[in-house]
């Protein structure tokens, strides 16, 4: 991680837990986020992502455990934590009847910026997210993507050490999502801010330096996207052949790990593309089609939790999760 510097961690938690009634929303989370890192919490709805973020942002008091953000205890030094973090919530939290500039000035004043600093800072954060020309426009006229970028700009107004983004791209189209990611990575370069984000979009988690997979309130794996994929293991090569049974026999005899799947022979190899010539040479029957599949974060999630992330998000089991999310939004 090129951005990790030799300073104290920006976010640190030990056995952080939260219980709502008889529901264990977060069960003993341990984590450490380096200064300047982009750290992503990946998990389905209701996995405990927002609850964890809310505890780190002092919005929710942990039931047990300890956490510090920007060097301050989230329970004992709430005000200090609050002044050093920026927050972008899951839902839109702008005042539509104010202009972009007024929304930012409102925020900055609550965070104690001086009047002189506010004007300059508004210019720089607005240009950082490409909204400089909309400065005087009412936020009510903004599209979802613009509003989200303005919220990110607002989160940066007071130059926080850690910027928390809770599902920053939820409900946005792919183009806008890509644009927001560009912004996030650029502002990390320009501001050196640590970014702690949650997502349930697999493809997005790859933008992060490190990913923590969270499921049922506990972290099941933490690593870089590449390393996580590595831990899931081998590439799979799928061969559609004239005789799959024969193919499995000959490949197994040649020392490959091969099984007959529904539509072809599945072979597990460390590096798929490189193995294709050897597989073809040893299969002994005509091959109609070859495909190589490298593990994605979807596979990673599947590997660690036994489920696909999107299935979970839509299953009946998430009714509780949704009710729960609604409960949290109201806080």
């Amino acid at each position: 991680m090129k951005h990790e510097q030799n300073r104290e961690p920006a976010v640190e938690a030990t056995q952080l837990s939260k219980r709502f009634g008889d529901l264990d929303a977060v069960k003993g989370v341990d984590l450490e986020v380096g200064s300047g890192e982009i750290y992503a919490f990946l998990g389905p709805n209701g996995a405990g992502k927002t609850t964890t973020i809310n505890m780190l942002c002092t919005l929710l008091r942990p039931t047990s455990g300890w956490a510090s953000v920007a060097g301050h205890d989230v329970v004992k030094e709430r005000r200090a934590v609050r002044s050093k973090i920026g927050l972008v919530f899951q839902d839109r939290t702008l005042d539509d009847q104010l202009t972009a500039e007024e929304n930012l000035a409102f925020h900055a004043t609550l965070y104690g910026l001086s009047k002189e600093d506010i004007g300059d800072r508004i210019s720089s954060v607005l240009s950082m997210v490409g909204l400089a020309n909309r400065r005087k426009d009412l936020v009510g006229t903004f599209s979802g993507g613009m509003a989200r970028r303005l919220e990110i700009a607002r989160g940066l107004m007071h130059a926080p050490q850690v910027l928390f983004l809770d599902e920053p791209t939820i409900g946005l189209d792919p183009q806008t999502r890509a644009r927001i990611w560009e912004d996030v990575r650029r502002l990390r370069e320009e501001e050196g801010v640590t970014i702690f984000m949650t997502t349930h979009y697999m493809d997005e988690a790859e933008y992060a330096d490190r990913i923590a997979i969270i499921d049922h309130g506990a972290i099941v794996a933490t690593d870089t996207p590449t390393a996580l994929k590595g831990r899931v293991g081998l590439d799979t090569v799928r061969l559609a052949t004239a005789d799959d049974t024969w193919a499995v026999h000959s490949l197994t005899a040649a020392g490959f790990e091969a099984d007959a799947g529904e539509d072809g022979v599945i072979v597990r190899v460390p590096y798929g593309e490189a193995a294709v010539p050897a597989l073809i040479a040893n299969v002994g029957v005509p091959v109609r089609l070859v495909s190589v599949h490298r593990p994605t974060l979807d596979d990673v999630f599947m590997h660690f939790t036994g489920r696909k992330i999107r299935e979970e998000a839509e299953s009946n089991g998430s009714a509780m999760a949704r009710r729960f999310a609604a409960m949290q939004r109201r806080r």
């Binding site: 942002c57 002092t58 919005l59 008091r61 942990p62 039931t63 047990s64 329970v75 030094e77 709430r78 005000r79 200090a80 609050r82 002044s83 927050l87 919530f89 839902d91 839109r92 939290t93 702008l94 005042d95 539509d96 009847q97 104010l98 007024e102 000035a105 409102f106 925020h107 004043t109 609550l110 965070y111 104690g112 939004r329 109201r330 806080r331």
Partner: protein, 288 residues
Amino acid sequence: MSTTATAPLDRVQTLTPWRMRHELRAAWIVWKRELIRFVRQPARIVTGLVQPILFLFVLGTGLTSLVGETGGLDYRKFIFPGVLAMSVLTTAIFSAVSIVWDREFGFLREMLVAPVGRASLVIGKTLGGTAVATIQGSIMLVLAPFIGVRVTALVVVEVVAASALMAFGLTAFGVFVASRMQKIESFQVIMQFLLMPMLFLSGALFPITGLPTWLSVITKLDPVAYAIDPIRRVFFAAQDLPAVALVRFGGGVEWFGHVLPVGAEVLVLIVFSLVFLVLSIRSFGKTD
């Protein structure tokens, strides 16, 4: 202090001059937001005039023809101060209850997560509602000439001051109610159970002297009654009214058979305002 009630944001921090300035500016920006939103909705200002105009010119004219004049005072002149106060009341309550919208649209959370005291936010919000309601009520003064109510410079000053005090108390009360409300749907409830009773019991539409005991007792519980009487006295003082009209229409709130002097009514309003201001601040401290 693990799972006990939420502690103050930082109980050990002292009120340094920098911090004090920060809190004051926070309250100021919350106040300013209320005013920006008010002037950006001229339609709301105009709509706010519709109800008072209906009361004054439709109900007022109709009832004047029914009850006639008493000593040179027709019903419209009698209800004018009440209708002005009604305008203050409605604007103050709705402005306060807009917090529920802020909660629904998430803006409240944006405010609550900031490193400022809840008191600054609540005071800013309350003073914002106060300013807006005072302006809306004072606009009513332009209608005075149409029904023959004389307005002097002194009347303007006194009415604005009385409206401001009334607006402050009712906004503080409204903010407290809003802090306990989760849903916009509760708005209808507010209308039915707060606004209309407060208006009807206040003496805005009929004198509250000489009422049956049960009704008389309830009117004394209505804070608006303590605000309308001073406003009405200010107007009456400028009208050269005959004694008979003053006796019939001039009575204010009575406690134990004695009419309260204006000073006492103002004191009641101040106490009411401060109590609800404190309750609001405490209530927001808990919504964490």
